[in-house]
């Protein structure tokens, strides 16, 4: 049974460690914040200039000067700090952000990622995505295994314009958890009831299966 978006987020949240500074992209990655394990303290970075992002404000308490990278109104937490965009990307570039979670349109089995541009469609821009993928020490992609047409998004090489090269470390889809290794996508876990063959049939890039692949604990 394929995971829901919430389950994907919950599975990614299990990768968090105490003291991590984390940047969460728009979409499924944002949901990860809802599943931070008990007893673990994580600081969320918003690349428009905030460490310590809090939840959405209560109705009537929105501050137009206080938004996240998705332009949503947010709040601060005790220990929050504001800074300018150069320092924000400076700390990302310096590898101080422990984990970046973001969505993707395609990922290659070498860890290349495409998530900003579709030829023929209006291009809105890469925002901070290229900086994040080029600099983050650890990148997890949260995405569906296939696109709406049923085509695999895990490819031998990206077909869309690239956002970054050889940067993705791990992928969590509704079907599987996979690491990027020199041999290709290494299958780590299967969604409950999803077979290795199901995953293989939806993975266009090199898939490595070693021994028994456990089912994910959801």
């Amino acid at each position: 049974m394929a995971l829901t978006k919430e389950q994907i987020a919950r599975r990614i949240a299990r990768e968090l460690q105490d003291g991590y500074y984390v940047n969460l992209g728009i979409g499924i990655p944002t949901l990860v914040a809802n599943y931070i394990p008990e007893g673990i303290e994580v600081v969320l970075q918003s690349e428009n200039g905030l460490l310590g992002m809090g939840p959405f404000p209560l109705e009537g308490e929105e501050d137009p000067d206080l938004i996240n990278a998705g332009k949503q109104t947010i709040t601060t937490l005790p220990g929050s700090v504001f800074f300018d965009s150069a320092l924000s990307f400076g700390m990302i570039r310096a590898g101080k952000v422990d984990l970046t979670v973001l969505g993707a349109m395609e990922v290659s089995d070498q860890g290349d990622i495409a998530n900003w541009k579709i030829p023929g469609k209006m291009v809105k821009g890469m925002g901070g995505a290229m900086d994040l993928v080029a600099s983050a020490r650890n990148i997890i992609v949260a995405m569906m295994h296939t696109n709406p047409k049923g085509e695999s998004k895990l490819l031998p090489a990206c077909t869309l314009p690239l956002t970054g090269i050889r940067c993705v470390k791990k992928i969590v889809t509704e079907l599987a958890v996979l690491d990027i290794t020199p041999e290709g996508f290494l299958l780590l876990e299967r969604a409950p009831g999803v077979s290795v063959e199901d995953i293989r049939s939806r993975t266009a890039g090199r898939l490595v299966v070693k021994g028994e692949v456990p089912e994910m604990v959801v």
Binding site: F89, G127, A134
Partner: protein, 232 residues
């Protein structure tokens, strides 16, 4: 030394057509509302605008786009703007998209007198086309040049008559960087105070970078994505 000007119209009076402008803000947060509005009243066109975003149809840089005052937009993300899209597709408007961190760093480089900086953002992508790639250690970087802008239009929370600026929350974003990068920097503030009123430890932009300052009026501070949570 007189940096204080009466209002936005006086501040931008010598901005001419064909000029390159930097405009602070992220989305609609921390944008120089008054200066943009004054530009809609001014006889200027063919502007090159360097700004992280291009506003929405009826606010921010969108107001300048409506009037077809912008020839080229240098930004990292330009969604949320139908008129922008129309002009882009019709070829009236030129757009250069660059990574957000690269944009920030190229502004900072100008303010720090660095002619160029190295950043890994965009290596191996179309952003790298025509750019010098250099390897340091085991990583490749692009050489990116400092921006040059005739004017920087920024918005701060408070400022003093010496041009010192303090920003609030995430409205800081690109503002202090662009304040440092303009050949002429025009700052609008929500509150203009006499020198001595700001704590010297708490100033974000030293006045040496600011050439003109005025207290803005009628700030709308529009929220682009109003999101709230339910009361627990």
């Amino acid at each position: 030394m007189k940096k204080v000007v009466k209002n936005a119209d006086e501040a931008i009076a010598d901005i001419r057509s064909g000029t390159t402008l930097m405009l602070g803000g992220f989305g609609l947060c921390g944008i120089p509302e008054n200066a943009i509005e004054a530009l809609t009243r001014a006889d200027v066109k063919e502007l090159t605008c360097i700004s992280n975003n291009a506003g929405v149809d009826d606010f921010g840089i969108g107001l300048l786009l409506q009037q077809k005052k912008v020839r080229k937009m240098i930004a990292s993300y330009v969604g949320e703007n139908a008129e922008f899209e129309r002009q882009l597709l019709s070829g009236e408007l030129e757009v250069e998209l660059i990574p957000q961190g690269t944009l920030a760093t190229r502004c900072m480089a100008a303010g720090y007198g660095m002619p160029a900086v190295f950043t890994p953002a965009g290596v191996g992508t179309e952003v790298a086309q025509g750019k010098e790639v250099r390897r340091f250690g085991d990583k490749d970087y692009l050489l990116e040049y400092a921006f040059e802008a005739d004017f920087a239009l920024v918005k701060a929370w408070k400022g003093d008559t010496a041009g010192n600026l303090v920003f609030h929350a995430t409205a800081r974003n690109f503002n202090p960087l662009m304040a440092m990068a303009g050949k002429v920097t025009i700052a609008e503030v929500e509150e203009l105070v006499p020198v001595g009123q700001l704590n010297p430890d708490e100033i974000h932009t030293p006045g040496i970078y600011v050439h003109r300052i005025f207290q803005g009026v009628n700030y709308e501070k529009r929220i682009e994505q109003r999101t709230v949570r339910a009361k627990a």
